[in-house]
Amino acid sequence: MMLRASGLSLPGRLHTASLELRAGEFVCLIGPNGSGKTSLLHALAGIGAPTGTVALDGVDPRTLPPSVRPAFLTYLPASRDVPWPLLARDVIALGGGAAAFPTLELQPFLDRPINRLSTGERSRVLIARALAPRPKLLLLDEPTANLDPLWQIRLMALVREELKTGERAALVAIHDLDSAELYADRVIVMNEGRIVAEGMDQIPAVFGVERRAGRWEAIRPPADPRSSP
């Protein structure tokens, strides 16, 4: 067992969540808007004032100083805003990694200010910031948002590739149910600030969607706004 977290809480957002990740495991976190996916990632990364215990190979990474923390865990927030015009290479370096992280094809952007890049390019730089320190635990919030279809596939494959050594694990919050099912070793379902299920079985109950002929559709079609009085 590599990551063992129990009783994680953030007031009003997350209620005593417990989970375990094995080394090498790629786990996706799914749940409706406001179900607590980001809060769970926050609690693991020590953002806010979470209560509960976290042990990553026996240490609580949230107690580690900034000099060694990126070797244990990194966190990619859902927001892709960087308020300062830092160069892409400096953003990655500030995150504690080697600037020339090869697999995201960042060479053309490395010497450009991050706020001059397109949203997708900026996302790739920020993903590289999280991947480059090669942490034991990767916490990614919506990593495929803003990426084009090819880069979405390449990114998920890349994260899988990163975990191949069997010493690291990833917890990825994601809205795309198909990607979660396709790439993850395990899927954790959240609802109303709690971990409610594992696997894809509870999706209709939690999300109100079901798969029909290979497509996700609403179980009850949304009310036609024109017909309401």
């Binding site: 926050h42 990364a45 020590g46 953002i47 806010g48 580690l64 100083p65 900034p66 923390r69 990126p70 865990l73 990194t74 966190y75 927030p77 927001s79 805003d81 960087v82 308020p83 300062w84 015009p85 830092l86 160069l87 400096d90 953003v91 500030l94 995150g95 504690g96 200010p113 910031r129 916490l139």
Partner: protein, 319 residues
């Protein structure tokens, strides 16, 4: 910042400092050597020292505040910190009647702290530019009005006249002892702010990322606010409010740190010291027949620069 740039800045600073102590040279060498030495030690040295220290303090605290608020338009004067400090000093001196430098410093630091606390409460920790500037404006206006009120209610009928020069910002006729009262807290604060540089650089990646990298952002915020209030307050107590250096210096400083806001604290201190020393030299050597308050000069140069900056940001940020 690269070594050559730092060396260049330090060299320029030394040159300006020497110029402000030594020029004009003729009166010093001419009539009376002893008188000349007195002019240097009693008049020019404290003044040059204050320009150096206050400029550096404004530059460093401007850089730190901008890094903290993630906003290049934050500065001690635009956030109301200097106005708060001035209010604190005026209340201490004219309402409570304590005029010792240490009392003024304490009053002024308390005022600066109050203003920054109010700003954080009003605008929030990572405010939009408009919110930040409007809150700062409101705090400045409030502190300005209260300062006028305190002077109007002061027992001394000369309070307004007394305080006028000081309120406009002035480095003139301060003793070496007074200079030390500004210099020691300022030097300490700048050194401590520089230690926060790496954390402020990581804060540039966003508050969540900084926290995930192990920085206690709430504590960092408290440290920057307290240090800025201490350093700026101590300088305002001696020299009054001088504007715009704290806005301009960090903007230039970030050009030599490739945009890193935390790393910019030291170069901003150098550039701030350079700007204020140069401004003071202008004031002293300008052939006007009388001395302008230095705050007027920095505002005359700084305000158009600020307007240009606002226009520039508006154009660049337009969707």
């Amino acid at each position: 910042m690269t070594r050559p740039v730092a060396a260049l800045l330090l060299l320029a600073l030394a040159a300006f400092f020497a110029a402000s102590v030594l020029t004009p040279l003729a009166p010093l060498l001419g009539v009376d050597r002893e008188l000349g030495m007195t002019v240097v030690t009693e008049l020019r040295l404290p003044r040059a020292l204050l320009a150096l220290v206050y400029g550096a303090m404004l530059g460093a605290s401007g850089a730190a505040i901008q890094a903290l608020f993630a906003n290049p338009l934050a500065s001690p004067d635009l956030t109301g910190t200097t106005s708060g400090a001035a209010l604190g000093a005026v209340v201490t001196a004219y309402l409570f009647g304590f005029s010792a430098p240490i009392a003024l410093s304490i009053g002024s630091v308390a005022g600066a702290l109050g203003a920054l606390a109010l700003l954080l409460a009003l605008a929030g920790p990572r405010a939009e530019t408009a919110t930040l500037l409007l809150s700062g404006l409101a705090i400045s206006a409030l502190a300005g009005a209260l300062t006028t009120l305190a002077l109007a209610l002061a027992p001394s009928p000369f309070a307004f006249y007394d305080a006028y020069d000081w309120l406009m910002g002035s480095l003139i006729d301060r003793s070496l002892e007074q200079a030390a009262f500004a210099a020691l807290p300022a030097a300490l604060t700048i050194a401590l702010l520089m230690r926060l540089g790496p954390a402020l650089d990581r804060l540039a990646l966003g508050e969540e990322v900084a926290q995930s990298l192990g920085h206690d952002v709430a504590r960092l915020r408290l440290e920057v606010v307290c240090l800025t209030a201490l350093g700026v307050g101590a300088c305002v107590a001696i020299c009054g409010a001088i504007g715009f250096i704290g806005l301009i210096a960090p903007i230039f400083a970030r050009r030599v740190t490739r945009g890193h806001p935390g790393r910019a604290i030291f170069p901003a201190a150098l550039i701030g010291a350079l700007l204020l020393t140069a401004a003071d030299l202008c004031v002293r050597l300008a052939p006007l027949g009388r001395t302008l308050p230095i705050g007027v000069v920095t505002a005359l140069i700084g305000a158009p620069f600020f307007l240009w900056l606002v226009a520039h940001m508006r154009l660049r940020l337009r969707p």
